[in-house]
């Protein structure tokens, strides 16, 4: 028996596998038992109705995909009246992912979703295709601190801040979010990119730029998770390109307490369940009684002296 539970601050998850915001809805019950997930994470909700971005909204890349969906949604009223009750048909903790274009509205949104049904508020301050001045707070330390601290004051719920891999110095942003009062950090959103169709000479997606996800970006996000885990004391949720059990193990070794999965669901719709089962099996095989013991367990010694290491046998 492996203890698969993990703690993200005051929140206990029965296992460390969660869907990433935007890659989950209760419609996934078409292909899996979603009660098995560590938590349920809503698609980002905004105050207003948002139509989203022009199509095509996605294109295939080698090792993943690029997307620009544009946070379509029916707004906060619909979310409160219809979507929350829909999520509450299921048992895992419920993470409400919210966004806004101003710190004032972010604060108000946090207050609006601070209901008994909501277990965690995840702040999307990192939608890559948003205007840097229109809600992509996680590109700047000061903006991050301002918006996180305002949300912190507005709610008693655990607050997770989802950071951006497009920030130049993500460790400073992580510290700013911690100082602002975040209970945990999700690292991270998608990486801003561009794909051009060489037949038509036009961008492959309707909004020109898009966020890259999939296994191709995993080493970059893994590095960021590790750096931030050294920079802050609050728990970190790793997110980016997980497609197999060993990817989860890597994120945890790098310092993550749990992970979120997006792209994999598009390729293998019930992949998250396969990873929950596979992770338990992996822990069993390797003799780990608690999956949480993997967090931060990467052996991080000073580099060996070069001649000595080069003279050592392989293995």
């Amino acid at each position: 028996m492996v203890d698969m539970s993990v703690k993200i601050g005051s929140v206990t998850l029965k296992n460390p596998i969660m869907p990433a915001s935007g890659a989950f809805s209760t419609e996934l019950a078409q292909v899996m038992d979603i009660n098995r997930l560590g938590a349920l994470v809503s698609k980002t909700v905004s105050r207003e109705f948002r139509i989203g971005n022009p199509t095509p909204r996605v294109a295939e890349l080698e090792y993943g995909m690029i997307n620009s969906i544009g946070l379509p949604g029916k707004g906060i009223e619909y979310f409160l009246q219809h979507q929350i009750p829909d999520y509450k048909r299921f048992t895992p903790p419920f993470v409400a992912n919210i966004t806004a274009q101003t710190p004032e509205d972010f604060e108000a949104m946090a207050r609006d979703v601070s209901l008994p049904e909501v277990d965690v508020i995840e702040m999307n301050i990192s939608c890559p295709t948003r205007d840097p001045n229109g809600g992509n707070f996680a590109l700047h330390e000061d903006h991050t601190y301002t918006v996180v601290s305002r949300v912190r004051r507005a709610t008693d719920k655990p607050v997770w801040a989802k950071l951006s891999p497009n920030a130049g110095d993500i460790e400073s942003i992580a510290k700013a979010a911690e100082k602002g009062g975040a209970d945990a950090l999700t690292i991270a959103n998608t990486l801003l990119g561009l794909k051009i169709n060489t037949d038509t000479f036009r961008p492959s997606i309707g909004n020109k730029f898009g966020g890259i996800s999939g296994p191709g970006i995993k080493p970059i996000l893994l590095r960021m998770v590790h750096q931030c885990s050294k920079a802050v004391k609050i728990p970190i949720i790793g997110c980016g390109g997980i497609v197999k059990v060993e990817d989860v193990v890597e994120y945890m070794l790098a310092g993550a307490s749990a992970v979120m999965i997006g792209y994999l669901t598009f390729r293998n719709p019930s992949g998250m369940i396969a990873i929950i089962d596979g992770l338990e099996e992996w822990c069993n095989k390797r003799g780990f009684a608690r999956v949480a013991d993997l967090t931060g367990a990467m052996i991080d010694e000073k580099p060996a002296e070069t001649y000595a290491s080069a003279a050592a046998p392989i293995g």
């Binding site: 890659a23 419609e27 996934l28 698609k43 995909m65 296994p215």
Partner: protein, 288 residues
């Protein structure tokens, strides 16, 4: 595709058991052995696979999201939606008829007998038949005809008369006419002899309406024909259904990639082709 790079091992139809046997979960990912895979003309291929129990429950107009093999040195990283052409319940097989047009379908075309196709499904909202209808008209263009085959077959089984108008560039591309002739009357209209012109198709449709042969319209495959059928449906108060296509990612609802514009009472809205469709009310469709 290097499947060992992923942790998800779908079950193999006919060999291993599905992981989730829960009947409340309607769709699944399965590896389906290819039974046959033949060119029917210079562009279209007919693919027959052994299907799982859940896959065989597919309804007319529903689709599967296929993980196609790669046609080149790279891999494919997104699935491709494909509507069903025929279900052979007796032999436990699902059939697809598709046009080789992009990287996904060119990859799909490389599958040979004995290979396995990774399918997720059945997915989406299919066609519906009202028992009060005595006669329906299906109008398809090119490979869009394949999508209309199952509903025509179902109508035939329910003793509803079917008139199929099969539009194509030339006779070579009307490979489904036999199937439609089995269940009703098939009318070919071609670019090669000019009969596929919208004005001519309009005359045919008007005649069918006048003859009482059109209690409902079904269409797929051409924006011009969708607009025509929508206009005539509105004029004569004939209900209609259209099967749409759009680039997809998840195929299940959450990602909001596959949206199309619809209009109800003058108000436009976006709907997801994968879960709100792929079959929609013809009068609410704005463009195919």
């Amino acid at each position: 595709m290097q499947t060992d790079a992923f942790s998800c091992d779908p079950f193999v139809v006919g060999k291993s058991k599905p992981a989730g046997t829960d009947r409340h979960i309607p769709a699944e990912e399965a590896l389906c052995p290819v039974v046959s895979h033949d060119w029917v003309n210079s562009e279209y291929k007919h693919l027959v696979v052994e299907a799982s129990v859940k896959a065989l429950a597919v309804k007319a107009g529903q689709f599967f999201n296929l993980l196609c093999p790669s046609p080149d040195a790279g891999d494919l990283w997104l699935r491709r939606p494909q509507s069903v052409y025929r279900v052979d319940q007796a032999n436990g097989r699902v059939e697809f008829l598709y046009k080789c047009v992009g990287r996904g379908t060119r990859g799909l075309a490389t599958l040979e007998k004995g290979d396995q196709l990774n399918m997720v499904g059945p997915l989406g909202v299919g066609f519906t038949l009202d028992p009060a209808w005595k006669n329906i008209v299906v109008l398809g263009r090119g490979v869009g005809l394949a999508t209309l085959a199952p509903i025509s077959q179902l109508a035939g089984e329910q003793a509803i008369g079917v008139t199929a108008i099969l539009s194509a560039r030339s006779a070579e591309f009307v490979m489904t006419s036999e199937l439609f002739e089995e269940v009703g009357r098939a009318i070919q209209v071609l670019d090669s002899d000019g009969t596929s012109a919208v004005e001519n198709v309009e005359k045919i449709l008007e005649q069918l309406v006048a003859d009482g042969k059109a209690d409902a319209f079904f269409t797929c495959g051409s924006n011009r024909l969708v607009q025509l059928m929508k206009r005539l449906g509105k004029k004569h108060g004939i209900p209609g259904q259209v099967a749409m296509e759009q680039i997809m990612a998840c195929g299940l609802g959450p990602c909001y990639v596959c949206v199309k514009t619809f209009e109800v009472n003058g108000v436009k809205e976006l709907r997801r082709v994968c879960i709100d469709g792929p079959v929609f009310d013809l009068q609410e469709a704005v463009g195919w």
